[in-house]
Symmetry: C2
Subunit: 303 residues, 2 copies
């Protein structure tokens, strides 16, 4: 049997959050349902940040409730900014929580209006509460390979390690290392993984690459070579890069799955069902997928 | 000083050859001129295959003559199918020749209507004549990592080595290893390079990746790691994949240059001038570039 690689689908949350046009709740629900049908069982569904900050995700509670009521089976995570958000997530039965910070001070300041220290303090509070529920928690560390404001800075790798230490100490189960603006290169990826490996089991990490400069799959390949077996991605490549106008953001799940299968890994995902999972969303938004595989594989029913 | 990586720009030939709408000669000339202005001095300009096979490149003689008359300085190669094509290329002063075959029998049969053996025979004739001119010759070996008809076959790597042997024996100076349909993965790339290295100096090879499935830069990264320092690419990613409708083909030169600079390599290329070099062509074709870097870097005059 071939080795398994785990995909964490972030399309419904990370992919949609910057879309201006309000997507109907039912359409979001069908997207989640389609993803499950394609064999993806780890899905970041929505976020409990303030509705005025991310209006697109203001229906998070309803969406989680629908998933629960309809007995969909899977790991459905919610992005949690603070204890208030956590309580709302608990109320509507999200079964996985995700907390977030970044290794760049400027990014944290501009993105969530707090210092790294302040954001870690909030995370600490959330984790203390979350523990009582025995729900698993993932932590995001953004700007791990470069920041839209500070660029690539010398001490950034140290900062990433330092944040990971705190998150694990406080009970985070898994950390997703985010290349927020897609500027990472394989030398950086290798260097960081080798440092993570010295302190922790690599099974506790996922890599979250963006394809802004076409580097996502290359960085996936390097990550696999150095022992990573979990990756975040977004169906159809949903989600632009808010820091570079007209540019793409998230690595497309199709591109990831196509490569993983070719390398002989098992993902449990049906590539054609995956391709179709986001069709309704793209049509509604009047956009086309940024995924090259999405366009190249055609509509064949084969694999 | 940082290490240099050589880029062989194939946009004017490989990028344009499948475009139906006839591009005016003057526009092609300006494209070549712009590429030179952006710092690219190795350019595959056109092809001397029969005009009815590739109508878009039927003005090859005129284009080479314009380049010569206007004293543009650079390495300008012409694709040569046979001795007749060679004589035309010599007549209009192409200063580099390129011959081509593929490692897949079916591909050769469908693409140039000959067996590998027959195509090698034609190449042998061309090389015997070309030697008299002391012009350097590059050889293309297509389908090196997979064939649109045969897929990935067991003996393909052996076939690639065997063809390289013949080409070098007959006096080819450099070989470009082509991933015609973009299905190569880093395991294949590493495996082939390690075999090439046992027999030849790797400076005699260029890698020619297609980005059909978003893997081109990943395969570039692996190639660099294993010692390759020459890459083919196409400005703006010009050139679709004729084997998958709506899919992209050539690796975009912008994506390549952006990565190489980030890795600390020198290319001599100005990324913004490069981005603008193909604008007139894309506008005329009513298309947008498939290069993610092309869209992500904006129009800044910085680097």
């Amino acid at each position: 049997m071939s080795e398994k690689i785990q995909i964490i689908e972030v399309g419904p949350r990370d992919g949609l959050q910057n879309e201006k046009k309000p997507i109907p709740l039912g359409m979001k629900y069908r997207f989640v349902e389609n993803l499950l049908g394609a064999g993806i069982d780890n899905i970041e569904v929505s976020s409990f940040v303030r509705a005025d900050r991310i209006p697109q995700l203001s229906d998070a509670a309803e969406l989680f409730q629908m998933i629960y009521n309809n007995k969909l089976a899977g790991n459905f995570s919610a992005l949690i900014p603070n204890v208030k958000g956590l309580n709302r997530a608990i109320e509507c039965r999200a079964n996985r929580f995700a907390v977030f910070t970044a290794s760049s001070e400027t990014f944290n300041k501009k993105n969530i209006n707090s210092t790294i220290e302040e954001s870690l303090h909030l995370i600490g509070e959330v984790l203390a509460e979350a523990k009582k529920t025995s729900t698993s928690v993932r932590g995001y560390v953004s700007t791990a390979f470069g920041c839209p404001y500070e660029g690539k800075t010398k001490g950034n790798e140290d900062k990433v390690i330092e944040i990971c230490e705190k998150l694990f100490d406080w009970g985070v189960d898994e950390i997703s290392i985010g290349d927020t603006i897609g500027v990472g290169n394989p030398n950086q990826v290798k260097s960081l993984i080798k440092r993570l490996e010295k302190k922790w089991d690599l099974s506790r990490f996922a890599m979250h690459f963006h394809d802004t400069y076409s580097r996502a799959l290359g960085n996936v390949m390097t990550s696999i070579e150095y022992g990573i077996r979990k990756f975040d991605s977004s169906a159809g490549g949903l989600g632009g890069c808010p820091y570079a106008h007209g540019a793409t953001g998230n690595l497309a799940t199709e591109d990831l799955v196509h490569l993983l299968h070719d390398l002989g890994f098992e993902t449990g995902v049906d590539l054609y069902k995956l391709k179709n999972s986001s069709s309704e969303i793209f049509e509604f938004l009047g956009k086309t997928s940024s995924s090259k595989v999405h366009h190249a594989i055609g509509d064949s029913c084969g694999k």
